[in-house]
């Protein structure tokens, strides 16, 4: 009996160590992702004025729409934080509830972004129109794609929490997904500060 508990203690210790190193690996991935976004930002800044006699940012951007997207994403960061807190309190149902709220806010953000893209393309301001629009769709679209994968991740984690419970690996995955989600909100700060706000001035 004593030997068994020593073994399981060792196993748990090893599992914790392996999960810690995964978290570190995920952090490195986030940093490389930050470099990708930084270069897309640089490309956008260089091309922002090259509208090739097509529609300019001032004609296309709607600050109210951007403020709505910003509010949804910031709120979703807070609600993911609430899910993390519920996890530390071992309240499984609360975790699932907050993850669902986060998912709804994330999907709301994506819906607003798709409406914006659709409206721009319908006006003849698609990515093929000018250097400015190519850079805009690449930068903002890449962020949207990240939010899409984050939303898929939230769906998967809701399933895992419900099926497997709050086990050590599930907690670690939820923390990593949280890092990803908060990271996307940081990228969005850059997008409204570099793209939208200067774009309407």
């Amino acid at each position: 009996m004593g030997e068994m508990s020593v073994t399981s203690e060792l196993l748990e210790h090893e599992e914790k160590k392996s999960l810690d190193s995964r978290e570190f690996g995920f952090w490195i991935y986030l940093m490389t992702d930050a470099v990708i976004f930084a270069l897309l930002f640089a490309t956008y800044v260089v091309l922002a004025k090259n509208s090739a006699a097509g529609p300019t940012s001032k004609e296309l951007f709607d600050l109210g729409h951007t403020a709505g997207e910003t509010a949804l994403l910031l709120l979703s960061s807070l609600t993911f934080g609430m899910a993390t807190i519920s996890m530390s309190e071992d309240r499984l149902n609360r975790v699932v509830q907050w993850l669902i709220v986060t998912l709804v806010l994330g999907l709301g953000f994506l819906a607003m972004e798709l409406i914006e893209f659709h409206g721009m393309i319908a006006q003849g301001a698609g990515p093929e129109t000018s250097g400015f629009l190519s850079a805009f769709f690449t930068l903002v679209g890449t962020h949207g794609l990240h939010v899409t994968f984050g939303s898929i991740g939230i769906c998967v984690m809701i399933g895992q929490v419900l099926v497997k419970g709050l086990t050590l690996p599930v907690r670690s995955r939820l923390i990593r997904l949280g890092l990803f989600w908060h990271f996307l909100d940081i990228v969005w700060i850059g997008i409204f500060s570099v793209v939208y706000l200067p774009g309407v001035m």
Partner: protein, 101 residues
């Protein structure tokens, strides 16, 4: 346990309120056209940098004492890479633009 989670609830809410304020300032300035010229860009840039720091500290729980050194090292490394690549690209392209005028 309850105490620790209360503290982290305060952390998230503090971060959220600070983020809302730092978002509202640049939006209000641009929306109401309260400021013009280079000053607006400076306010937008400062608010953005501050808000990134708020997110790192209150949402990603970055802490100079408790976050593992490797994580901070890679954050710093990424910041240096971004500074060289973005700063360098903008410098070259703006200079080129200037010479083409």
């Amino acid at each position: 346990m309850t105490h620790a989670s209360e503290r982290s609830l305060t952390t998230y809410l503090t971060g959220f309120v600070l983020a809302v304020i730092l978002t509202a300032i640049p939006f209000a300035l641009v929306w109401g056209e309260l400021l013009t010229g280079p000053a607006v860009y400076i306010v937008i840039a400062v608010a953005a940098v501050l808000q990134v720091l708020v997110h790192l500290v209150f949402f990603l729980h970055l802490d100079l004492k408790h976050t593992p050194g490797e994580n901070l090292f890679f954050l710093g490394f990424a910041a240096v890479l971004i500074f060289i690549m973005v700063g360098g690209s903008l410098w070259i392209m703006m200079d080129l633009h200037h010479r083409m005028m």
